[in-house]
C-alpha cells in the first residue's frame, strides 16, 4: 500500500471509529509528516490504517458512540396488533411496535419469520389481515432489492426520488451526493446502476430512502454486499440519523449490533423460541 493510499484509508477508518473531522485532520497530517521525515513505509511505521485508527480512537476515548444521547422524542411510528397469514401459514401474530423520534428499532427473527412482510406492512405496500399502522410524519423505505433502475445513473435516481419529494433536480443531486459521501461513495456520473457492484447499488438504495429526510426510515437489510468498512459506515449513518431525530426501523439478522439499538422486535414465532 503506498503512502497516499494508506493516508486516504486512514481518513475513512478514523471517521468510522468516531474520530471527529478536526482531530482526524491533525492525526493524518501528523502521520504524513512523520512518514516524510522518517522515510519509512506506512505499514511498518503505523501498521494497518484500521488498527492505527482504533488505537487513536481508544487513546482519545472516542471508541463506540454513546448508546443514548438525548431522550427520545414524540412517537413517530405506532404499529398495533398486526396479524398476517399467507394461505394457512401464519406469518405475523398480533405484533406491536412503537418507535419514537431518535430511536432505532431492530427487527430480528429467523428466515421466514416475516421480517420483510412486517416492514412492507409498515410501508403500506402489503395489507395486513388485522391491525393498524400509524405514521406521524413522512416515510422512507429501503427495499431489500429491486429498488434501483438498471439503466439510470445514480444522479438520475436522486432526481427521480427528489421530484417525488418536491426537490429541484440540482438540489436532489446535491443532497444525494452528500448522503453518498457519508457512505464513502462518490457516484461516477457516467455509470449506470446496472454496472455498479452489489454493495454500491445497495448504497444507492439507501441514499434514495434517505433523500428528502423522511421522519421515519424503514430499512430492509440494507447492507447486503457491504464490506466491513461500508457496514461500519452504514451503522454510523444510522446512529447519526437517530441523533437528528429520525425514527429508524431496520431489519437485521446480525445480532452483534443489537446493543446499539434502542428497541428489539423479535419476530421468531413462540413455538420456535420455546
Amino acid at each position: 500500500m503506498n503512502q497516499d493510499a494508506w493516508l486516504a484509508a486512514l481518513v475513512g477508518e478514523l471517521r468510522r471509529h468516531g474520530v471527529g473531522p478536526d482531530l482526524a485532520g491533525h492525526v493524518v497530517a501528523e502521520a504524513a509528516t512523520h512518514l516524510r521525515d522518517s522515510g519509512e513505509p506506512p505499514l511498518s511505521a503505523f501498521g494497518p490504517p484500521g488498527s492505527y485508527a482504533r488505537d487513536v480512537a481508544d487513546s482519545i476515548g472516542a471508541a463506540a458512540p454513546a448508546p443514548r444521547r438525548q431522550p427520545p422524542g414524540p412517537v413517530r411510528l405506532d404499529v398495533r396488533g398486526i396479524s398476517k397469514r399467507y394461505r394457512r401459514h401464519r406469518v405475523l401474530n398480533d405484533v406491536n411496535l412503537t418507535v419514537r423520534a431518535g430511536q432505532i428499532a431492530a427487527v430480528v427473527g429467523a428466515n421466514g419469520a416475516g421480517k420483510s412482510t412486517f416492514l412492507r406492512i409498515c410501508a403500506g405496500l402489503v395489507s395486513p389481515d388485522r391491525g393498524e399502522v400509524h405514521a406521524y410524519g413522512s416515510l422512507g423505505y429501503c427495499p431489500q432489492d429491486g429498488g434501483t433502475r438498471e439503466f439510470l445513473t445514480p444522479d438520475e435516481h436522486f432526481v427521480l426520488i427528489g421530484a417525488g419529494r418536491d426537490m429541484d433536480r440540482a438540489v436532489a443531486r446535491r443532497a444525494g451526493r452528500a448522503h453518498a459521501a457519508r457512505l464513502d461513495w462518490k457516484p461516477d456520473s457516467g455509470r449506470l446502476a446496472g454496472q455498479l457492484s452489489g454493495g454500491t447499488r445497495q448504497k444507492l438504495n439507501l441514499v434514495m430512502a434517505r433523500l428528502g429526510e423522511p421522519d421515519i426510515l424503514l430499512l430492509d437489510e440494507p447492507y447486503q454486499g457491504f464490506d466491513r468498512g461500508a457496514y461500519l459506515d452504514f451503522w454510523h449513518e444510522v446512529w447519526r440519523w437517530r441523533d437528528t431525530g429520525t425514527a429508524v426501523v431496520v431489519v437485521t439478522h446480525l445480532l452483534n449490533q443489537l446493543d446499539r439499538v434502542d428497541i428489539v422486535l423479535d419476530l421468531t414465532p413462540d413455538r420456535e423460541r420455546a
Binding site: I82, S127, V133, A135
Partner: protein, 230 residues
C-alpha cells in the same frame, strides 16, 4: 406536472440507452413493410402500421414490467399513480412518434396515389393505442413471457381475420385496417369515420384501464394512517 415530466424524461433515457432493443424495434416494421413490398402495394402499408403497433406494444409491455418493482417506492416518495402512468405513456408515445416518422417518410417517397393524411392518422392512432395496450398487458400479466405471447396472438389475429366480421372489431388495431382501406383503396369516408371512432375509443379505454390498474395496485392501504408530524 413536474413529476410527470421527470418520470417521462427518465423513462425516455432508459429506453434510449437500450441500443439493441431500439434497433430491433426500428427494424421490425421495416421487415413487415418489405415482406409485402413485392406483391401488393397497399398491403405493405397496412403491414408497416401493424408492425409499428406491435413493436411499440412490445416495448411498452417490457417497460411496464420492468417498472413494477420500483413503483411502490416511488409512490412512497410522493408520486401519485397517475404521475407514473402518464409519465411512462408520454415517454412511450414519444418513442412511437420517433419510430413512425421515418416510415411515414418512406411511404411518402415509395408510394403514390394514397391518401397521405389518412396514413398519418393511422400511424398517430397506432402510437396512441399501442403504448397503453402494452402497459395494460403488463398490468394484467406481470410476467413478460406471458404478455409477449398474448401480443403475438393479438397481432397474428389482427393480420389474419377478415376486418369485415364484427368480432374483429374487438381487436385493438382494427382501425388500422379500416382507415388503411380508406387511404389505399380510396373507399368512402365511412371507413375513415368507423376507424377513427374505433382508434380513439381504444386509446381512451386502454389509457383509462392502465390508470385504474395502477391506482388499484398502488392504492394507499387503509391500515396505514398518516398523521402530520407533531
Amino acid at each position: 406536472m413536474k413529476k410527470i415530466i421527470v418520470t417521462a424524461d427518465l423513462a425516455l433515457r432508459e429506453i434510449a440507452r437500450r441500443r439493441t432493443v431500439l434497433v430491433v424495434l426500428a427494424l421490425l416494421p421495416l421487415a413487415f413493410y418489405l415482406s409485402r413490398r413485392g406483391d401488393h402495394l397497399g398491403q405493405s402499408i397496412r403491414f408497416v402500421c401493424l408492425g409499428l403497433g406491435w413493436a411499440l406494444s412490445t416495448a411498452a409491455l417490457f417497460a411496464g414490467s420492468a417498472a413494477r418493482p420500483i413503483e411502490p417506492r416511488l409512490r412512497l416518495s410522493g408520486y401519485g399513480s397517475r404521475h407514473l402512468v402518464l409519465g411512462r405513456l408520454l415517454a412511450l408515445w414519444t418513442v412511437g412518434l420517433v419510430l413512425s416518422l421515418p416510415y411515414y417518410l418512406l411511404i411518402l417517397v415509395d408510394r403514390h396515389d394514397v391518401r397521405y393524411g389518412a396514413i398519418a392518422v393511422v400511424m398517430l392512432l397506432t402510437v396512441a393505442v399501442a403504448a397503453p395496450f402494452g402497459l395494460a398487458l403488463s398490468a394484467v400479466l406481470p410476467r413478460e413471457l406471458e404478455g409477449t405471447l398474448v401480443l403475438l396472438i393479438v397481432v397474428g389475429l389482427q393480420m389474419m381475420t377478415d376486418p369485415a366480421t364484427t368480432a374483429s372489431r374487438a381487436l385493438p388495431f382494427w382501425f388500422s385496417r379500416e382507415i388503411g382501406t380508406y387511404a389505399i383503396d380510396h373507399t368512402d369516408s365511412g371507413y375513415l369515420d368507423r376507424g377513427l371512432l374505433h382508434g380513439v375509443a381504444f386509446a381512451v379505454l386502454l389509457t383509462a384501464l392502465v390508470t385504474v390498474a395502477a391506482s388499484v395496485r398502488l392504492r394507499s392501504r387503509p391500515h396505514l394512517r398518516f398523521n402530520p408530524a407533531p
